[in-house]
């Protein structure tokens, strides 16, 4: 029977669930996999943990954990890219395998760490960094190893999906939806990295790197947050058969990638449109298996720990994968090149001739209008919405158009621009 010694660093929500899970499942793993997983060291600045079943040592100086001679795998559940980055390097340099749930660390420092691990014949596990409890990374890595991936699309940020779902399905305001997400633990006290798209962009970088076997930096990912989405946009979309979701995409078009994370309209009958609240979903299309979709909890202590356990089992079982091989150079298109249909909502002063002026600017750019909606006027208001659906057109051209439209005297405030994802 093989015995693997494990050290955990980080004892927050996920860390505590992990301790519970590994102690709980020890016997089952022993009999099914013929491996004994022994949690014998915990790095915790507080110096104590809330689990009386843990019988190992506690180390308050986290960066001393990798120096232990009694550890084979180090599990990092701290987050951020500061101490976790030091910990990762020290772990590998001290010949320990490294498992993490940290998307920022992998997105920002993955390439360096994979190289370091490969040179020393060590393994890095990061299944929990994308999609929490959904085993998406291993599925892309193994399941699709024998197939070329054409594209993926998905919802990678539970907080944003929760808020937009509450607004759409329960007519809540953005503020109330956020408060409810915070109350339930689906949003941090400071939710900005979730809301502004940073979190989803980091996950998109990791998915892209695996899916397209290429060097991808989080800076290659165009991203936009959900804060500017208003109920009125949801209503207009609904009439046309679309739902707004916080979508992440990776398209490989003839070896040029198009990558992004932003709120977008998708058709009501698509898989992704029906995945609500905090649930995540990833749909992957590959040459040999067509479309496969995976949905489940994208965060949370036990789902995340479950993915961490999988990585540990892979390493314990000797299932090795050298991620440093996936670092080929691949071209990432500037997002300005993105061609899709678009929704524009302008708030205009209700004067005659305004539609004509808007249409003229659009026509001058050779853009086609699929649909123009101007609702019956409410006589008490003199600022009214006009919604325009543009046919397929380039991001760069739309940016120019929006600029010109915003300069019109009759147009008030900024123009709402939402992309369609087919």
């Amino acid at each position: 029977m093989q015995k693997i010694n494990i050290a955990l660093c980080g004892t927050g929500n996920v860390g505590s669930s992990f301790i519970d899970l590994i102690l709980q499942s020890k016997e089952k793993i022993k009999s099914n996999y013929n491996v004994e997983l022994n949690l014998n060291l915990i790095g915790s600045r507080k110096g104590k943990i809330n689990n009386s079943d843990f019988k190992g040592k506690i180390e308050t100086d986290i960066l001393k954990v990798p120096m232990s001679n009694e550890v084979d795998i180090i599990v990092e559940l701290i987050g951020g890219t500061e101490i976790s980055y030091e910990l990762a390097k020290l772990s590998l340099k001290n010949d320990k395998h490294f498992v993490t749930a940290n998307k920022s660390l992998i997105a920002e420092k993955g390439q360096e760490l994979f190289k370091l691990a490969s040179d020393r014949n060590l393994h890095i596990g990061f299944e929990a960094s994308v999609g929490g409890g959904i085993p998406i990374l291993r599925t892309i890595r193994d399941g699709l190893i024998s197939s070329k991936i054409n594209w993926f699309k998905g919802i990678l940020n539970g907080t944003s999906n929760y808020i937009l779902s509450k607004m759409y399905l329960e007519k809540q305001t953005y503020e109330d939806a956020l408060k409810s997400a915070q109350k339930l633990g689906f949003a941090e006290p400071d939710p900005s990295l979730d809301i502004n798209g940073t979190d989803a962009a980091q996950k998109t970088a990791i998915l892209s790197f695996l899916s397209f076997s290429g060097k991808i930096s989080p800076r290659d990912i165009f991203f936009d947050g959900i804060k500017h989405i208003e109920p009125i946009d949801m209503e207009y979309g609904k009439e046309l058969g679309y739902v707004i979701k916080p979508i992440s995409i990776g398209f490989n078009e003839e070896e040029k990638l198009l990558l992004g994370s932003f709120p977008a309209f998708i058709q009501q009958d698509e898989i992704i449109a029906n995945v609500n609240f905090e649930t995540n979903v990833i749909e992957v299309n590959s040459k040999n298996t067509n479309s496969t979709a995976f949905q489940g909890p994208g965060a949370g202590g036990y789902p995340t720990s479950s993915s961490v356990m999988n990585d540990i089992l892979d390493i314990a079982n000797g299932k090795v994968f050298d991620y440093s091989n996936l670092m080929r150079k691949i071209e990432v298109n500037n997002f300005d090149e993105f061609i899709t249909k678009r929704y524009l909502r302008l708030m205009v002063k209700d004067e005659s001739g305004v539609v004509a002026e808007i249409s003229k600017l659009i026509a001058e750019k050779d853009l086609s209008i699929d649909n123009l909606i101007q609702k019956e006027k409410n006589k008490t208001e003199d600022i009214i919405p006009i919604v325009i659906m543009l046919g397929e057109c380039k991001e760069s051209l739309v940016s120019l158009l929006i600029n010109e439209l915003e300069n019109l005297n009759q147009v008030k405030g900024s123009i709402q621009h939402i992309r369609f994802i087919e």
Copy 2:
């Protein structure tokens, strides 16, 4: 670099795709996994194959393949339980690992084969036997190893889902839908095992065995086919917000299992309700990760081969799992005990008092009627449908009731009974 020699038996649609896939992906696997997969022997009764890239030997006597000294893993893509069963035993007895896509073989003979493999420290891979290209078995096995599974439900038979989808979404007749499925290769020339529920029941047995770690025989699975489903039932369901799908279920209620594969009504907004045509889906609910759902192609040469490749990679990488450990005794409830809501459609002679008589029989059994629909009469017909939705009640009691109702003079033909799955 580790070198693994592979023999393939069976060169039909899946077998041919497999040959293509393993030859195509050899280099990629070499660089990413540090394993060389060498297809060096093919068992084919015809004695020739259609792939000029294959440079190994062809053996026309399939049962001689396991005797080869130059093979580490035998891949069985023949189907059925006759020659494939012999092949499996011979492979293991000759110290070869065994990988198969054969659900009948695993459902019927799995227990014996797992024991044989365990005794000889060999591995059996059968990912492709359920859900084709969807990596569901490994997900249950690994991803959820540290968590207790409460239930699964899904669509495991693509043929049945295709036919019901065509009938529901495109108003086709059963016969036309079947013809179209056959034309597209989603149904066999003799589709009976798919249509009558046998195929889904075998897959349910395999999923149940893995999910609940217990001895399960295909005979433990209640099953029913889709042939009796009529468009009129779909229409009634639709009005109430339900869709008919070919559902497979495994519920673990306090260590008593309830297992079945049958057409059932599910709510329109459930994941499974929106998975159409030949696509399969499996939703798994576990203690630690809540609900996770996986959907994708349930059959087809390349998706199936992709799953076979995964099993080979696991074995090549030394990722071992002893399935003979999952054979604990577990109680399977008789399906007569199944409690759920039910839809009954009776064709009755349009006479006064008929509803009263029906209601009386229902009341005598202490069953509650959630809904009774009797549409306005069409004056040209004297046989009209009456639809009754019963509140939660036991299978055994409903069987009795149906018997009594069918004995009423006014009731013509047999009564349509469709279960609801929440």
